[in-house]
């Protein structure tokens, strides 16, 4: 690389091209930011495990058909370090979920924000997965007025 400018350009390209990552695999290999998910439903199951914690919700569409969705979060240890407890989500809780859908069109998504409908509590399901390299971990809970 001859010029400093060229080096900067190359360096910048790599920075921009950073693959947003979860701890053990690349986000973009499995999920698609161009498939934003916005779901509402009742929690049917919680798997408090690693490398990913999961929760499952029954989503009812306009026709009344119920589909069970799997929502993936970071692993249980990462959630614990960011204010979650195993009891934060309980079976039967109504939640809304924002995230990204799976590339293979399965009923699975990566959850980013989870809102407990009963209390309005907002939870971040991907702490530390900042959208830029080197970004710090956002707090797990947002108590908005």
């Amino acid at each position: 690389m001859k010029s400093r400018f060229a080096r900067l350009v190359v360096g910048s390209i790599w920075l921009l091209a950073v693959v947003p990552v979860a701890p053990h695999r690349s986000f973009a290999a499995e999920y698609d930011v161009k498939k934003p998910l916005s779901l509402k439903g009742a929690v049917t199951k919680v798997e408090w495990k690693n490398p990913h914690a999961f929760f499952y919700i029954d989503v009812k569409d306009e026709t009344g058909t119920v589909t069970n969705w799997a929502l993936e979060m970071v692993g249980a240890t990462a959630l614990l370090r960011n204010g979650w407890k195993a009891s934060t989500l309980k079976i039967g809780d109504e939640v809304t979920v924002e995230g990204s859908g799976a590339k293979d069109d399965s009923k699975q998504g990566q959850a980013r924000i989870v809102v407990l409908v009963s209390t309005g509590q907002r939870l971040f399901a991907q702490p530390g997965q900042g959208t830029e390299p080197g970004q710090g971990a956002p707090p797990a809970q947002e108590n908005r007025p």
């Binding site: 408090w48 249980a76 614990l80 407890k85």
Partner: protein, 257 residues
């Protein structure tokens, strides 16, 4: 830190070190993946480590359990109750029979999942290392490069305990015996390949005694009121593996149960 006081020989040129190397090269030693002569070990004139020398001590006078240990008898992995029938209650007996009938189909170790305690420690061919520090005893396993920590810094168990595969362990000394208490287990691990069960209520007490340089004895007491009628114990012997180092055995097919 904990420097064993059985002769602090350093690298470079002692007769005993040369004899050790000669002994290793001669191939007299049992099958080892790596040959790493330990200059600190007391040796006979032919270079062989003197495994009945006194157990080493740490700087603060406690027995030093550090070393690479290998279970002496393979039977305990197949049946932890090989020496005495574990006192299963009806629920425990039913679960054990079911596992025996299906020939270990869902044993976690078949899914690259941990064997837990004590099964991880009693696998022939899979030694493990104790690293002893003032604040904790670390166990490093050859198999799946897993570790356990037994905390000796005075902490208590956490109040809010998510179940884990190796449990939460705290330890302390009672004279020359190291006593470790572990609880907070997931239910998935099997106590042995035969399928002796345990529940999430299991509380294991391990009493470690280093008999001499080359021999460690651990008494495991299993207290699980959900599946057993009373606590039961088994004492297992381990041999030091000198002049070597742990291998790395990585399991390739992790699948959920």
């Amino acid at each position: 830190m904990n420097v064993p006081t059985y002769g602090s020989r350093r690298w470079g040129g002692s007769i005993a070190t040369a004899a050790a190397i000669a002994w290793l090269i001669s191939g007299v030693g049992h099958a080892q993946v790596l040959r790493v002569p330990d200059p600190r070990l007391p040796r006979a004139p032919d270079g062989k480590p003197n495994l009945t020398a006194a157990a080493p001590k740490t700087r603060d006078g406690k027995p030093d359990l550090s070393g690479i240990w290998h279970v002496a008898d393979a039977k305990y992995l197949n049946n932890l109750g090989a020496d005495a029938e574990p006192p299963l209650n009806p629920a425990g007996a039913a679960l054990y029979r079911e596992r025996q009938a299906y020939d270990a189909k869902d044993r976690p170790s078949g899914h690259c999942l941990p064997r837990g305690v004590p099964a991880s420690m009693v696998v022939r061919g899979r030694p493990w290392k104790i690293m002893q520090t003032p604040n904790e005893l670390v166990m490093l396993f050859d198999e799946s490069i897993h570790f356990r920590q037994i905390h000796t810094d005075g902490r208590d168990f956490p109040e809010d305990r998510l179940p884990t595969w190796f449990g939460y362990s705290i330890g302390k000394w009672e004279g020359d015996t190291f006593v470790a208490d572990t609880l907070g287990f997931v239910e998935e691990t099997w106590l042995d390949n035969g399928g002796h069960p345990h529940s999430d209520a299991m509380h294991i007490t391990e009493r470690f005694r280093r008999l001499d340089l080359g021999h460690l004895e651990i008494q495991y007491t299993i207290d699980d009121p959900k599946l057993y009628t009373k606590p039961w114990s088994v004492t297992v012997r381990f041999d030091l593996l000198p002049d070597t180092e742990l291998s790395e055995h990585v399991c390739a097919a992790h699948t959920p149960l």
